[in-house]
């Protein structure tokens, strides 16, 4: 792994954005020009993006060399010794992909908010602060550090929605952004409550917060004995529930999703991009990194009343999310809420992939089904991580385009648009491209991951996969509805004297996303080996 001026690269990725945020924020009082703040923020975030690309590329080389080892730990020093928490940073293939995504999306979000005049330095600083939070989550190898950064992401996002959210609709006194930001905060905060308790419980009883160590020790911890006077499996189930709810809210898994359309709908463009592109991935990442390896036996426990195990239950909720998310998006009349519900729909596929991974992992771990199909689980897991990356690209792109439109027209109602392709051919073409990537058109990125997940889920959850196809069908429905309302039909003469075409900054912001969507669709092996190596290593580690 490389270092930057003698400092470990991962630490730079974590603290660099915070430092940049500080610089950009202080520029506001030093220099009156907003333009300077923008350029500084862009330059710093681009440097960080380059660094994240370098980290990704280095892991691609190093990761293939470490064989069945999963992690490369780059930093390990005492931190909160009273608790036993240590400052441990490291990455594997899954975090490398997420680091890359975060690194790329942040400068694009800054470009997308180029036209914001209201306290622009602060706005950009919050975006950078958010990058610190998410980078921290993806590279943390210590449970306490993980929790810290996980909560840190909420703060900038809350203020972004609350302060820079959409304007009140005519005739309404209060803007929906206050409701949305409060709901977002309470939902997320309430969700992590149990997670904090569970973190404390695990750390205290194991004497360590190191994730790699916990993966090996915690599932076996005092099996069959009592902890705090209660049967240990009950304690573990409670701890599981703490993590489970927190991450379900973040992904979001149905029915924990209702914060999302509000938050997305009201957030400023850059906020929506990062929210959909990165923040939702924190939840999915938490499942893969923590909930699956720490609680294998809980996934196989039978849920009362329903009569299926937890993993299957999770798969059912995911499929409900896929289908109802698609229907809800189909029923929307607000472009940003439509895109928001599409996230529920797409992240449902991530959910079902996680369920397959969890089920197989737990079966092999517990020995309950030694013949569990590892190949299927590997394909599902590859697809899941790739889908996280792909959704990051396409949802950020969709929000950028929806935001670009809102910025010019100040309306989000689909019925206010119509025939815009006449005057904005470039915007129209890019909207079509991004929409079809989001729809999962073969040849573009989303298809590869969805196909892998469907392939992985089919032998494990056959009927559920078939039901998920209804969701896939209606994905087409709402995408076409969106395109039709914005681009097709006779031109709405209300916008006769508006320039609806993308601005150069917006064009620059979306271009890298388009390239990556096409590249991943045409040749997914630029990114897949790194995921595949790690996923294979997880199962290899399990077998030994």
């Amino acid at each position: 792994m490389i270092d930057v001026f003698g400092i470990d690269a991962l630490s730079v990725l974590v603290f660099g954005p915070a430092l940049s945020a500080f610089i950009v924020a202080s520029l506001a009082s030093l220099a009156p020009s907003k333009q300077l703040g923008r350029w500084v923020a862009l330059a710093l975030s681009l440097l960080l993006a380059l660094l994240s690309i370098k980290v990704f590329a280095d892991y691609q080389v190093a990761g293939l060399a470490i064989g069945d080892e999963q992690f490369i730990v780059t930093q390990d020093s005492p931190w909160f010794e009273a608790l036993g928490a240590r400052w441990t940073l490291g990455i594997d293939g899954i975090s490398a992909v997420m680091v890359l995504l975060t690194g790329i999306l942040t400068p694009l979000a800054i470009l997308a908010s180029w036209n914001i005049e209201d306290r622009s330095n602060m706005h950009l600083a919050l975006l950078l602060l958010f990058e610190t939070g998410s980078m921290g989550v993806f590279v943390a190898m210590d449970l306490m550090v993980f929790f810290l950064f996980y909560e840190l992401t909420l703060v900038p996002m809350y203020f972004l929605i609350n302060q820079w959210g959409s304007l009140p609709k005519s005739g309404v006194k209060f803007s929906g952004r206050f409701y949305a930001s409060t709901k977002f905060m309470i939902y997320s905060f309430g969700g992590t409550l149990g997670m904090l308790l569970a973190t404390q419980l695990i750390g205290w009883s194991s004497g360590t917060y190191n994730m790699a160590d916990l993966t090996a020790t915690w599932p076996l911890f005092r099996q069959g004995e009592a902890l705090l006077g209660i049967d240990v499996s009950a304690v573990k189930a409670l701890a599981f529930a703490g993590f489970f709810v927190a991450f379900c809210i973040k992904v979001p898994i149905w029915p924990f999703h209702t914060w999302l359309p509000d938050a997305h709908g009201e957030a400023p463009t850059a906020g929506s991009m990062l929210l959909a592109g990165i923040m939702l991935k924190l939840g999915a990442y938490g499942f893969i990194r923590l909930v699956i390896p720490l609680f294998p036996e809980v996934w196989l426990a039978e849920v009362v009343i329903i009569g299926v195990n937890v993993a299957t239950c999770f798969a059912i909720l995911s499929v409900v999310g896929i289908v109802l998310g698609a229907f809800a998006a189909f029923g929307q009349s607000d472009i940003k809420r439509l895109v928001a519900y599409s996230s529920v729909n797409h992240m449902g596929f991530v959910g079902i992939g996680i369920a397959v991974l969890a089920q197989t992992y737990a079966q092999i771990w517990s020995g309950s089904d030694p013949n569990a199909d590892v190949q299927t689980a590997i394909l599902a897991a590859n697809g899941t991580v790739l889908q996280m990356f792909n959704h990051g690209l396409s949802s950020a792109g969709m929000f950028l385009l929806a935001g670009a439109l809102y910025h010019k027209t100040h309306t989000r109602e689909l019925s206010d648009y119509g025939g815009l392709w006449v005057k904005a051919p470039v915007f129209g073409g890019i909207l079509l491209f991004t929409s079809f990537a989001s729809l999962g058109l073969p040849g573009l990125n989303g298809f590869v991951s969805e196909f892998l997940i469907v392939r992985g889920a089919w032998p494990v959850y056959t009927a559920l996969t078939a039901i998920a196809m209804i969701g896939l069908l209606f994905t087409g429905g709402y995408i076409l509805k969106g395109i039709r309302a914005v681009l097709h039909g006779p031109f709405n003469m209300r916008w006769r004297d508006y320039n609806l075409e993308l601005t150069p900054a917006e064009l620059l912001a979306i271009a890298p996303l388009l390239v990556l969507m096409l590249l991943t669709g045409v040749y997914p092996n630029w990114i897949l080996p790194i995921i595949n190596t790690t996923v294979s290593a997880i199962f290899a580690g399990l077998a030994s």
Partner: protein, 776 residues
């Protein structure tokens, strides 16, 4: 260049030309200038008027450059196809050997997924048909779209369309095949809705995409299932591999286990459903007639060269899988085969009955496409593999010809209408507005407005006649006869020998459909070209002079040659007189195509697999006589009713009286579209709204708001208690308690976040206490 010298790598370049053309036009050469939207010359035709607005229209140089790049792309594809065909002809035993190359596309655990190209007999026949038909369509589009303000975009999109089709043709695995398949779906969506300001156009586009997507998601499941059983999706490793086919045919399925079906059958039916959507078979046929909303070259692309042919081509590709476990040539059909036979034969007849009652010149052709695709599907269902492939090729040629000829008719009618218009303006019509309005109601596609076009548009007439007769299967001279005859011959053979019910059904329904095909084709030709003009526009209909006329006529002439000659490559050896002339040693087409199936030596070891190489059916007078009689009878009846006694302007179609109450039912497509609208579309929209209003807002959010309200209420309660406590006890209370009360009151300011923070802190404290006490 290296790749040109390597026959195995060369097929990669076949789709490269059109795909590159798409990229170049989209990114570089599609440049526009601003023109007033009210300018009819720049922005006329299918676009509404926008008062005082400037709109981007394609610049003149951009139009020319883009057209040339599009043409260059498809010509490159044509040349490389021919080079590949030459390379393939150098193979000693094509089928056993093939041109193929692949690379690692995706890591999958310890294994990897390979993407590659494959040229085998099935690819060869498509490489003969697709590039030529596509090139003709491109040439035709130069003239047809010459006045469209977005011609550069049009050429970009049809280039992508052609590129996707060629990708599908050379694909060596189901996944790459599916990539081409779906991109074509998107291209057809964009091209059907090319005049996107028209409501009918974008609605048709959405309908086409949604209907085919229903089938595609099922097909995707089939692909995933196939992949999960075999661990590969390569055609060579599955379709040419008897061991894989045998294991598929003998594995119990993962679902529907209660029925005695094999995994191969379930996968087969899932994959066939994909074709039911793509090739517009009942009950998913409803999108194809609406698809004619697109510009006519697009219709030719969809109906002939690409889209729907791809559906049948996929069945040809996957046929060994469908037949595994049965033996169609001994009357034993597997579930997928029976499914194809029934759906295909039923669709062939159903669509033919609908075609009879249509008045739109393109609609008749659209239904005839559905019907002819039904022929092919039914043929595959009864194991007539070669016959289906043969009909696919001949149909592509004559249907491309018919659509483009119909496009010329429409173009000619519009031209005539313009002429009439200008003329009336010259006369200083007292009601110019009325004139415009009358013009907008005029339908240049309605055959009732035509008549007599053989005089003003002779080339179009003769070529349309050739295409129409080929479609009707006029005996001996047309390609359509030979391919249709072979399907019937195959059906008759098994029916005769083994008394197979499915073969009997197919034989009867297809013979009936063939009769109706001949009838409605003759009706169409007579209404369009026969008799006298029934409108002013028809009187003046023509294509004009110069480049436009030339580019629209040349493809018709070339395709007319194919519509006749393509049949002679597949004349049965023992056909009287003609057999020895055209197929002295063997039936060339049969000999080539059958090699795409596993060899008998290889399959003999597996009892579940049929003999994939049956002999070509011997000459039998019954099927030949049947196809001759139905074709001639249909044509004769059509001639009798419509050509001999041409319709007068305003006269009712004699068929309306003959069919009575049935006529509106046929004309309205058995009301299936309305039924779907009511049963599927409306409920989906309703459900979409309900999910938000009822589930998300009404239940989930309402529950959360309830919690918030309870928290706020509890907070208020404590506040009241405090006030009462403090006020009631008064001055006697120590200062300390007052302070605590005040602190508490500040906490209870009614903000829910604060409560949660408090709860969080309390939880942490309780947790730590618990933990410490347990640890002690």
């Amino acid at each position: 260049m290296e790749v040109f010298n390597d026959p195995n790598a060369l097929p990669w370049l076949i789709p490269a030309g059109p795909l590159l053309a798409f990229l170049i036009i989209t990114l570089l050469t599609n440049k526009s200038k601003l023109a007033p939207a009210s300018d009819q010359r720049e922005y006329g035709g299918h676009h509404p008027d926008y008062d005082g607005m400037l709109v981007p229209v394609v610049a003149r140089y951009s139009r020319v450059v883009s057209v040339f790049i599009g043409l260059a792309g498809v010509i490159a594809a044509l040349i490389i196809s021919w080079m590949t065909l030459y390379n393939a002809s150098q193979l000693h035993h094509i089928g056993q050997e093939a041109l193929a190359s692949s690379f690692v596309w995706m890591d999958t655990g310890a294994t990897a997924f390979h993407m590659g190209v494959l040229v085998d007999p099935a690819t060869v026949i498509m490489l003969v048909m697709v590039p030529i038909a596509t090139l003709m369509i491109f040439i035709y589009s130069i003239g047809y779209m010459a006045h469209d303000p977005r011609q550069a975009r049009f050429f970009a999109l049809i280039s992508l369309f052609a590129g996707a089709m060629l990708t599908l043709v050379v694909a060596d695995n189901v996944l790459l095949f599916f990539v081409g398949w779906e991109i074509m779906g998107v291209c057809s969506y964009m091209l059907i809705g090319f005049w996107f300001e028209k409501e009918s156009a974008y609605k048709a586009a959405i309908k086409a995409f949604t209907t085919t997507r229903i089938a595609d998601v099922v097909m995707l499941l089939g692909i995933a299932y196939l992949y999960s059983i075999t661990g590969t999706l390569s055609f060579r490793e599955i379709m040419y591999n008897p061991a894989a086919l045998d294991s598929l045919a003998t594995t119990a399925p993962i679902i529907f286990g209660g029925w005695t079906v094999s995994a191969a059958s379930i996968i087969g039916i899932f994959l066939i459903i994909g074709t039911v959507g793509k090739s517009a078979q009942f009950p998913l046929h409803v999108w194809l007639p609406d698809a004619m909303e697109g510009p006519t070259p697009v219709s030719a692309m969809i109906h002939a060269a690409a889209m729907v042919s791809a559906g049948i081509f996929s069945l040809i590709r996957l046929y060994p899988l469908f037949a595994a476990g049965g033996d169609p040539h001994h009357g034993i059909l597997t579930e997928p085969l029976a499914f194809m036979a029934v759906v295909g034969a039923f669709t062939a007849l159903l669509a033919a009955t609908m075609a009879v009652a249509q008045n739109d010149v393109k609609a008749v052709l659209a239904y005839s496409t559905i019907s002819q695709l039904g022929f092919m599907m039914a043929a595959l269902g009864i194991g007539a593999y070669v016959a289906a492939a043969f009909h696919l090729i001949t149909h592509a040629f004559f249907k491309a010809l018919l659509f483009m000829a119909a496009g010329s008719v429409i173009h000619g009618m519009e031209h005539g209408e313009h002429h009439v218009h200008e003329h009336s303006h010259d006369l200083a019509s007292p009601h110019p507005d009325g004139g415009t309005e009358g013009g907008s109601h005029f339908d240049p596609q309605d055959m009732r407005n035509m008549g007599g076009l053989r005089k003003t548009m002779p080339v179009t007439f003769w070529t349309f006649l050739i295409g129409g007769l080929s479609l009707s299967g006029l005996p001996i001279v047309t390609a359509g006869f030979w391919s249709k005859d072979e399907i019937l011959a195959d059906a008759w053979l098994v029916l005769d020998k083994y008394g197979s019910g499915a073969h009997a059904l197919v034989f009867v329904l297809l013979a009936l459909a063939a009769f109706m095909t001949a009838f409605y084709t003759m009706r169409q030709i007579s209404l369009t070209f026969g008799g006298e003009a029934r409108s002013e526009a028809a009187k003046h209909a023509n294509l004009g002079q110069g480049v436009i006329s030339f580019t629209m006529t040349l493809p018709l002439l070339i395709l007319a040659v194919f519509a006749i000659a393509a049949g002679f490559v597949g004349v049965p050896t023992d056909f009287p007189i003609l057999g020895p002339i055209f197929s002295p040693e063997y039936n060339a087409f049969h000999h080539l195509v059958i090699e795409a199936l596993p060899l008998p030596e290889a399959t003999a070891a597996y009892s579940s697999l049929p003999d994939y190489h049956p002999h070509a059916p011997p000459f039998n007078i019954v099927p030949v006589a049947t196809s001759i009689v139905v074709a001639l009878l249909g044509l004769w009846l059509g001639w009798l009713t419509y050509w001999r006694k041409p319709l007068k302007a305003g006269q009712k179609d004699p068929l309306e009286d003959a069919l009575g109450p049935l006529h509106p039912v046929l004309q309205n497509r058995y009301y299936l579209d309305d039924l779907y609208e009511r049963v599927f579309v409306k409920p989906s929209q309703w459900l979409g709204l309900q999910v938000i209003a009822f589930l998300d807002r009404g239940i989930i959010d309402a529950f959360l708001h309830l919690i918030a309200r309870i928290s706020t209420w509890l907070g208020d309660l404590i506040k009241v208690l405090n006030l009462w406590l403090i006020d009631g006890v008064g001055d006697g209370i120590p200062i300390a308690i007052f302070n605590i009360g005040g602190w508490l009151r500040r906490m209870q300011s009614g903000r829910v976040q604060l409560y949660l923070l408090l709860v969080l802190a309390a939880a942490v404290v309780i947790g730590i206490v618990l933990v410490l006490s347990a640890g002690a």
